[in-house]
Symmetry: D2
């Protein structure tokens, strides 16, 4: 890759790293993407509610959004831009070559995590001065790099636009963490005309110099926020007057862990967080659970979801409390398109020094799967790959991906694939 | 008391002790009572469905009843008697003196327990040769003595009938264990005309030579049989197809134990038995729980009952199984009638060597309370006392009450009270 | 009472109300008490580590203490005062008359609660402008009034010092909420020479114009902070690597609720707060429980404590996590001294318009009980009374006690008792 | 196959079907096998403690064994035979040809299940008159057919002994249900010299005319009997004195269901039966759980076992009861020997009308796996196949395998394999 693209890509990644924004609050990032695409000469740029079907949005906290908007505006994002996107993040740049050829979509996610970044001397972002400037927020899963790769690819596409065919869509997705952002982008119709859709993630089981093609193992998943509301009472004088939301949450948690294994494939259930109660001697009124389930197939995942619902309802009845179940994230399984996997294998094998792996065992979840399923539904293809890096644990406060060493491979995979599919011979 | 009544009373107690019959199966005992009352000259003797309102009966197992009938008939109870009582046990002898005076009812219970009696050399019934002849059944709570006292009192009443006023009802109740038999006797109308109703129990906190007057502490109680029905599945191949009745029973048991204490008085909850499942590797289809709750007031008991219902329903929903809750026993609290208590105190103090106690702390439950409540409802009075004995634990396989030493006090209390209320001055 | 004392008492209560300080952080309040006592002419004033045995302190959070010190200093409390008390709150004023007579101690507690005070138009402190100025903190249990009464009594004592005998100790206790402060005051030896110790609380079951003498029902209580520490793991990829502190906390909570009732008296258990987990898809590493138990006797309370320990240890073992149990508060039962109760009855009946109640049923807990037990141990007496007020729920955000109408009764009770015990005839 | 062998095989199966014997009680069956082998001319027949290492035996109930011996003796099994086998079932017939060649072992299991057999007109054994004559026992998994096939193979081997090489071991195993019998046979040294060991099961996912070669999916498994012993107490008077074994069993069951999924492969856990408690109002003293775990690998199974142990210990501690964990069955995973699988494929394809399947997904468990592992450990090979049949559910009261249509395929597979390995060319 050209040194100037490389340098810009690394700089962009580090710039984004300093201002991490969690899902649905990527205002600075979306504005940066938008401004860059415009500067590169893209004439068709969709953003905000043009790419997000708002009534399909999951897990968006209006209070968080408003605080982030205030911060973004303070950082120089024009209020007019916020108005234009109607407070919804996400941006898509489209190059229509007017020449016959396939519609190829590339997905890049942009959101950060609620983690306080390490500030120790062995943490590269600290050492090199691009550690997060926002307390409690951190790009600890590499989406900063994903976005920077996307912008580098966008530059390459524009620089090569005269020798490309068909249409190329560069999709900058919000809220991948918690598998929230893909579904409303799909519902906005962005993928209805797409022939091939490609996405990637850094790290995971792929080490430095490795590209891993994903065949199986991306689990369908649903994320739940569960709330119980009970009745307070003084635990010393009138324990019988109280209805404990805390106890309902505990009963629920124990039963969730006990949902039977599924005979038809891998399943998962996790209760990751539970906050309940107001004070030591008051029957707890409020309880809040963050849970998630996963399944090797959509059917297995739905089996888990159905059990979650019954368990929550049952505990609410047993403890005489009110309940609310909110679906705050949703991902499906990855459709496997062998032809596209093989095309990517060829691209990868063409990159010097790259070793190719094939992944088949159960791993995490990705809401890119919704984009893939939509494209496959009308006869297209999808694929997902991992580009390796030296890292020491995703979602950890000392996560790093050794950008200069790892990101070029990602760039070459995306541009190589576009070249293969849209390049004029 | 006259030596011949004493001797007969002790002999009767030991005879009944040899043939213990559990609740609703007291066929031999009922027949014995009936025959004795008839022989004593009682002309008004009600029995079976005349004293039991059958549609109010709780906790009666038809299969047990049929087996007991077969055994009783084999022991010489005429089939015609079984037919006459329509398979319902219980008997009431009534003396109407035709002279003005109060209606006084005395309650004696007749049923035994499912306990295998001790056969060791330190167990008096074994040594003296009147140990239970029925395997797995035992009069381990002294109701054999209660019945024998009742018959001795019946003899005394008849011997003194010319100097008594008003009406005397001698009520021989079935199924006190599990608090089942009193309610259908009350519903049969037996106590609608009663002015004073009196009952007693041997032992408890009363030691030898003591009579304890009960002021408070008889807890209202409800007994539940709970059944869950799930869906079987092979636990290895298709665990997801099963719905476990066993897990619903376990969740229920844990939540039952966790019903909040009540601020207005003592409460109790017990899960005494749980049987679930068919085999190690099959999702359990059937689960059965024996539980009970108690309360210092009817309100506290009802609070417990309401929680039982919600917990069972909630677990059935959470585990997607069917449920059934059967109320198999019910007792209420003891109404306190100070005037009658004081009358009993006078009677007790008139018995040589007797010491009087006053009981006020929470103890067990008694369905005699329904009789008391009915009598109090129309302006009458009720009372309950304990006559002490040397014993080593009710409901234990080595229970004994030292009959010759303890039973005379009971006889003197009942006859003394009748004398006080119905005796001609 | 004299108008100037009345006016000052009400003003003091409202002043304290504006600056509520929770347990062990009562720096402004302690300084206010100290300055007032000094101004009144008390020459023997003990404070901080003079009245608190520091190694007996329970439930004191150093971080909270430091923050509160900073706030207090900003509000004008001299750093030298903080140094003098060695960061421990609490103050005792002592009048030694040098005339023979009993040592009478009066206890007044000073701490507030973590509650956000109501700001509605029906809330008197809001209307009259003395609502809490500290967000999230509120005198919602009337300890502001207790302290103000104590200072008014201190003034009356000094004004009457020439006609009083013996010794009068005015004990201003920190950290009564959570039953934390009394024990280290007792251990500091403050009550070793006391003949009579008296304390009170506003409200409860006592309505306006009522004084309630407490005979029974103050429950022994122990407060626990329970912490579990597990092992994190990605819930999607490696659920088997995680050991969930959250699940251990849920199992613990369910089992705590299920500790059996005690046959010898009232018991209580409450799990008031549970916070566990770090994120939706990470096996939870940290879990924190706030719990408490109570018992009608010290034995019942210890039975509950013993069960708490076993349950926590058992869950730690079952879930393979570490645990920590911290006892953060402790109260015992109230010793009943009939003679002192009757003396208080006389005082109360001497106050115009006051109606006297006798309380015997289970209610809350009080760590004043430790002071009482120490005094009784060496032959002295203790008592506790409630002075009524119109209120709408202790520990509620709209609690108020109608100070002008209710506080004078408290003042008259304390001064009346001192007059009775220490007044020269 | 020869008609006389076919007829005898069917008749033998039906004879065994009439007298089903559960694990470790196969006295009639062992005697029948022994007598047949002797009649066929086998000179080396090992039995009882010659083939079972008694101190390695799992899940053998001495009481059941004694009852079964009495029944067997009543059915004509000589007491001398019982003495000779020292009350341990199992029999092995060995043909040593004295010619060089491999040692081939064939395993046939003999035990029945505790199921009451169907007696309806649509149940073939009922219609044809060979329904179980033993109430509550049934060959509901086809081991009667396995044994009959084994004896038919034994006859074929003897009829062909002059044209066979090497050694052929015909292993008739007791107690396969509950995976109990294989381990002590392995420990007895029977497989130390075996080069190839083969076993089979009827039915499962293999339909009529199908032979299924098992590659993967035989789960390692451990069976547990768990017992808790608590302290009794009257639930009304002294609930605090009791320690409930029932509650410990319920807590254990809920936590067992909640053992985390394993990231490295399929796991299973089942609580199939729970019996606890003695009476409604007595704190339960005894609780008994039948549970099992499984794992795709031995490591996954051991992970489950380790959790079982910790959970049981943790609950015993939390509820202050004693515990006992008994391992009553154990199976490991199936070693995959591709060469032997292919050899079997050839044999199967040589049988007219047979279709061959390859099984790879998780299914049940088999303790034959211990035999396979021992043989593979010293360089040999093992394999397992299923021969299909029309059936309507293993372990169901109406199970049948359509013997005349399905058993010949099993016979041909075993004899075909022996012919292939030991036949002289």
């Amino acid at each position: 890759m050209k040194p100037e693209i490389f340098n810009e890509m690394i700089a962009t990644r580090r710039q984004i790293h300093k201002h991490p924004e969690e899902g649905w609050t990527e205002f600075e990032t979306t504005y940066l993407v938008y401004e860059r695409l415009k500067a590169l000469g893209y004439t068709k740029i969709l953003k905000g509610t043009e790419v997000i079907k708002t009534d399909c949005v999951l897990g968006r906290d209006e209070q968080l959004v408003q605080k982030a908007i205030a911060r973004a505006v303070a950082q120089g994002v024009p209020q007019s831009f916020i108005d234009a996107i109607e407070s919804y993040t996400g941006c898509v740049g489209i190059l229509e070559t007017a020449r016959p050829g396939p519609v190829v979509a590339l997905r890049f996610d942009m959101d950060a995590l609620r983690i306080e970044e390490a500030d120790t001397a062995d943490h590269l972002p600290q050492v090199l001065g691009f550690r997060s400037e926002y307390p409690g927020l951190m790009h600890a899963c590499g989406h900063d790099a994903h976005t920077a790769v996307g912008l580098a690819v966008a530059r390459w596409v524009m620089e090569n636009k005269d020798r490309l065919n068909g249409t190329i869509k560069l999709v900058f997705q919000p809220a991948e963490e918690g598998v929230r952002g893909a579904w409303p982008m799909v519902q906005a119709g962005l993928f209805d005309d797409v022939d091939y859709v490609l996405a990637s993630h850094c790290g995971g089981k792929a080490g430095p110099g490795e590209v891993a093609l994903v065949h199986r193992g991306v689990l369908a998943s649903t994320k739940f926020d569960i709330r119980f509301t009970g009745t307070p009472s003084h635990a010393g004088n009138q324990p019988h007057r109280g209805h404990s939301a805390l106890m309902a949450a505990c009963g629920t948690s124990m039963m969730l862990a006990g949902i039977p294994r599924h005979g038809d494939g891998t399943s998962r259930v996790a209760v990751g967080r539970l906050v309940a109660g107001e004070g030591r001697n008051i029957t707890p009124v409020h309880a809040y659970i963050q849970a998630e389930v996963r399944g090797e197939t959509a059917e297995v995942n739905e089996f888990m979801c159905e059990n979650v619902r019954k368990i929550v309802m049952g505990n609410a009845m047993a403890y005489n409390v009110d309940y609310e179940i909110e679906r705050v994230g949703d991902a499906t399984t990855l459709d496997r398109c062998p032809e596209m996997i093989e095309a990517l294998r060829e691209v990868a094998l063409g990159i010097e020094g790259v070793k190719v792996l094939d992944l088949k065992s159960p791993a995490g979840s990705e809401d890119f799967t919704w984009m893939g399923k939509r494209v496959v539904a009308h006869g297209g293809q999808c694929a997902f790959f991992r580009w390796g890096c030296r890292h020491n644990g995703h979602h950890k406060f000392h996560f790093d991906l050794q950008d200069t060493e790892s990101m070029p491979v990602a760039f070459k995979m995306f541009t190589g694939y576009v070249n293969k599919m849209n390049g004029q011979n």
